[in-house]
Amino acid sequence: MYKLWASVKKEGLLLLRDAGALIILFVMPLALIITVTLIQQGSFKALSNAKIPVLLIDNDHGNVSGGIRENLENSGSFEIVSEKEGQPLTEKQARDEVFKGRYPMAVIVPENLSADLNQKVKVNVDKILKDVGLGEDSLAAFREVETKEIRLYFDPATQLAFKSAVKNNIDKMVSELEVQSVYALFQEQLSDSVAILSQKSFLHFREIMPVDGSREVIPNATQHNVPAWTLFAIFFIVIPLSINLVKEKGQGTLVRLRTLPMPYSVVIMGKTLTFLVICMIQFYLMVAVGVFLFPFLGLEPMQVGGKLILMSLVALCSGFAAIGFGILLGTVSQTQEQSAPFGATSVVILAAIGGVWVPVFAMPAFMQFVSGLSPMNWGLNAFYDVILRNSDLGTILPRLVLLLVFFVIMVGISILYDEKKRAV
């Protein structure tokens, strides 16, 4: 026990005197979490406060283009731009502006859209009324109406998710306008003075949140970001830990350690305990930033409410998993040039497949399977179980066990590898 304590003390001193490692371990994760949450919050605000500039070229000047303009403005997500230097924009100018990346998108409403839509609707309505014996035989008086298209231009650098969301919204908007026209025409034909057709939507949706006691658990960017990036930071411990082990080889201390009258596992446990303390400090710092600093930055505060113990347990087990990986990497690497880039890249890959950036359900089937093998996915889901799904210890226990088993396997492989190297 005394030897273990001496090892922990030594590792602590080594870390305290390594400014680079301290920056990686504490400053970078805090900078990361603040930056990412500010950006995500900023993006959300941009979408919800009509901050995205959109070029709207109105060649229609009718009720449909007016409706599109009104809907875009009222959505609260867009700022409509139709002129440049006091002159109305043309489609060509709009296309150039967008393709050069000056605007994220442009909407081109074609000529006579309103008139043609009204005419098309009128033809259909008259046909229906005639079929039920309420209309006159006047179809021959109408000309054939061609299909119209609303053209959308997107900056090629625009993300697919954004494009998809905008296209869906505009599609929905046009459909609603079309339906409204149909309703209006029926009403006009059937009754001149009384509104007999309700144009209110019949179907609505309401999102039902998980309940914590009597309070709904409403997720926000902070609730997602703090656990995700905390996990990311915890796993970044792989880099200083593997470098620590590689340095032991390079400076010859490993030779001395192996000749000492104690099992090599004491050395490993000394490193594990020290870096576990670091992991927990990282975790509490990140949570503290989420709870206390975020409100000052205009961000949603982290809601911890009575879940800190379970969250700590998840952080602890995730720390074990990260340390296991770091020990393995440090054991098999011969130089810092091997361990540092590999460590950084592998953590980013583990984060990517673990669902830190892209939700697992949005991944292709094969990647969803791979995601299930990532310890970061186990940790992230355990955090989400606790924070967002209001789960108890029994629910997260399998994930915690997986993280601990991962640690044991990693350390086991490291010791076997080390033994094998000595038997060469």
Binding site: S7, L14, V255, R256, P261, R422
Partner: protein
């Protein structure tokens, strides 16, 4: 200084048919080597590059496993009593084997505690050795600020803090100034006088001739000759130094190897 000694056989190290062949190597690094090292000697293992010195010492220290053969240290078999061997041996590697960002005192307290020493006794021991080797006033300075000679001396202390009965020294004076070298050699001789056995490797044959009480010259993983430096010199016609004996035994051709 005091050394843990026990009333055990006169030969402290017995090596029998010890063999090591690395997996990717074509030749044996140590080939059926048999050697007995008497207690209380300063025993020099000499040989050209690739002779098998480092491999032999690495096996004796437990760093690598022999392919075949056996050895005992103080009667303890490496196979079944490795823990006893490690408790009673010290290692002074050729690398400094110290933590550069820790002070000399922190390094020594750590390595001492790994040998089971603790508390006031450990601190006094560290202080005694640092003073003995002229480093006490720099005890609280980081190793990274030390000169090569100072690092060598701290490296030496880290290997003998627990007063081992067998001390392995891999080129303990390489790259140091003459003053540090003298301090180290005098210190080791004094330590040997306490009853410890020193196993020493070096390419510095003049130093070995002066320092060692017995010497074995190795080549191709086998012992070519063994005895006191004087015995070896007398045994070779016209030899006047250990260097003459060495060149006679292993030849003058270059021994580059990878």
């Amino acid at each position: 200084m005091s050394v843990i000694t026990e009333n055990r056989p006169e030969a402290i190290i017995r090596i029998h048919s010890l063999t090591k062949k690395y997996r990717e190597a074509e030749d044996y690094s140590v080939n059926e080597l048999t050697l007995t090292i008497p207690r209380g000697e300063i025993f020099g293992l000499l040989g050209p590059n690739g002779a098998g010195k480092t491999t032999l010492i690495s096996m004796l220290c437990g760093l690598i496993r022999p392919t075949s053969g056996d050895f005992t240290i103080n009667g303890w078999s490496y196979r079944s009593e490795g823990e006893k061997i490690r408790k009673n041996m010290g290692v002074v590697p050729q690398e400094y084997a110290l933590y550069p960002s820790l002070t000399a005192k922190e390094n020594l307290l750590y390595f001492g505690s790994m040998y089971g020493m603790r508390g006031r006794a450990l601190e006094l021991k560290v202080q005694e050795y640092l003073e003995h080797l002229g480093l006490l006033k720099y005890a609280d300075k980081k190793i990274e600020t030390y000169s090569g000679g100072m690092k060598r001396r701290v490296n030496l202390i880290a290997g003998i803090l627990h007063s081992p009965m067998v001390l392995f020294l891999d080129e303990p004076t390489v790259g140091v100034d003459i003053q540090s070298k003298n301090v180290i050699i005098d210190f080791l001789k004094a330590y040997n006088r306490q009853g410890a056995t020193l196993i020493y490797t070096s390419h510095h044959l003049i130093e070995a001739q002066e320092f060692c009480t017995r010497v074995a010259i190795l080549d191709h993983g086998q012992v070519l000759t063994e005895g006191t430096p004087q015995e070896l010199i007398q045994g070779v016609n016209q030899a006047r130094s250990l260097e003459d004996v060495f060149l006679f035994m292993v030849g003058k051709e270059l021994r580059d190897y990878v």
